[in-house]
Symmetry: C2
Subunit: 316 residues, 2 copies
Amino acid sequence: MKKTVLITGGTGFVGSHLTEFLSQDQNLDIHLTAFGPKPDFFSNLISDEKIHNLDLTDFQATTQLIKVLKPDQIYHLASFAAVGNSFEQAEKILINNTILQLNLLEALKIHSPKSKVLSICSADEYGLSLPQEIPINETHELRPVNPYAVSKISQDMLAHAYHVSFGLNIVRVRPFNHIGERQTVAFAVSAFAKQIAQIEAGQLKTLKVGNLQSVRDFTDVKDMVIAYNLLMEKGVGGQVYNVGSGQGLSMSEVLNLLVKLAKKPVVIEQDQARMRPSDIQTMVADNSKITALGWCPRIPLKQTLQRVLDYWRAQL
Amino acid sequence: MKKTVLITGGTGFVGSHLTEFLSQDQNLDIHLTAFGPKPDFFSNLISDEKIHNLDLTDFQATTQLIKVLKPDQIYHLASFAAVGNSFEQAEKILINNTILQLNLLEALKIHSPKSKVLSICSADEYGLSLPQEIPINETHELRPVNPYAVSKISQDMLAHAYHVSFGLNIVRVRPFNHIGERQTVAFAVSAFAKQIAQIEAGQLKTLKVGNLQSVRDFTDVKDMVIAYNLLMEKGVGGQVYNVGSGQGLSMSEVLNLLVKLAKKPVVIEQDQARMRPSDIQTMVADNSKITALGWCPRIPLKQTLQRVLDYWRAQL
């Protein structure tokens, strides 16, 4: 008997890599929720009738899907992601992310209380940290700096409340930065790589950057989805797990690695429009909880960056 | 020159006591926001034109008020409070409390960035705790058990984000249980006291109770508003402060104290309808941050309970 797996936000960046990874397992019957048109990418992976066009902020539609599928496992990725401009879109992000979470939890409570759920939250919830608090473990005080982070906290905390109050089997995950092909240019590494590809193609003169001083913890999205799969199997309901490499790298170091892969010289230009009202200096994961379950990142950063650059070259 | 003070939710339980306390200071020009009809109580305290009938979830109205008043100080109490039934009203509570917070912060960012703001959050944000974590300090991990607590976390975290990103001078406060006259029977001590008054008056046979095992930290609302006033003067922007007595008392101990004040014998009956999907066993404040500023609770619990009981006797 196959296991029914639902991936919410399944056609997004992480969803696409997760679908690719889980599709290798013939014992899984994989369904996705998607919001908007289905990318071509999925044609060979998932048959059309298993891609459910659905806005999780619609309670009736969400309830109906959960009632019909009663998934054994749910990778809950769906979320409105907007870090850079989340103050401009604060109300929309807060309401949408809160309500879609509430709808899914209520639907599960009513129709599928035994589903194992991975609720994908965010390391952005931690926000500010002091030097002595690095690396950041799961009990780190939450000090968010923007509405997007607050909306992820709201999702995280609702998952906790429904676990405690109704016994829903929900594992919460706080991923640190993850990168790979198909990520949008709202994220720095994609923005860098696309611009390099454009410079190589003669379409652009300079590479515009925001704050390069901040230090981040980068994981290949393909390693990230392996962590998610491991947490689905071994994560303990109610618990929260960081996922990250545990290594910090400044944005300027990452940029330098990418520039070294460029086929033309790259001129870098500071762009005030890419600076945020507040930025977090350092975000590095204490990953001891997830590594104790047997995960560690496998793919070297250089290899990931090469893939991202090649992806953007192919898009031009 | 008088200071302009705005109390949001000023006609509510805590708002009424805070207004009473601050009215003694002739150097304050006190304004309230109220939602719904003004209780008679305020006639002698505040003139009608300073009570602004306003729903803070209305962005235009909120912005207009802040633009006109540009308050020196804001005691931000307004919130939809519903602990007992917050799962039934989850969507409303989450949206309302999140949006009213966002509206006030945006209004301040635009029209009154120098206001000192006390954002009244809740000890419910802490939720579950382990015995070794008692008393609970401000860095305690947030483990909420219901949507009301999640909505207060959302308010708390938005206040933090706007402080960090735009320099708003916001002090966050997490009060533990506080009690006094004019509190609704949605809260246990009022529910106990009202029933005792009804039993004394021959209107009721038994006193119905929920979970009596839980341990709480009770502060007289009149001591609580003194703490708020102190934090308005001495609290540091961006910081969060617990307010509580630091003493834990089981609900059954509180009930016993009240029953001793009754003029007739009281029969107690367990009521399943008053039990919650999940309840927090123990909530006791580590109040060292606020006591270091010079606050301590002055009013003995027995005296508070006597006042609450007399209040309900007078209401019948």
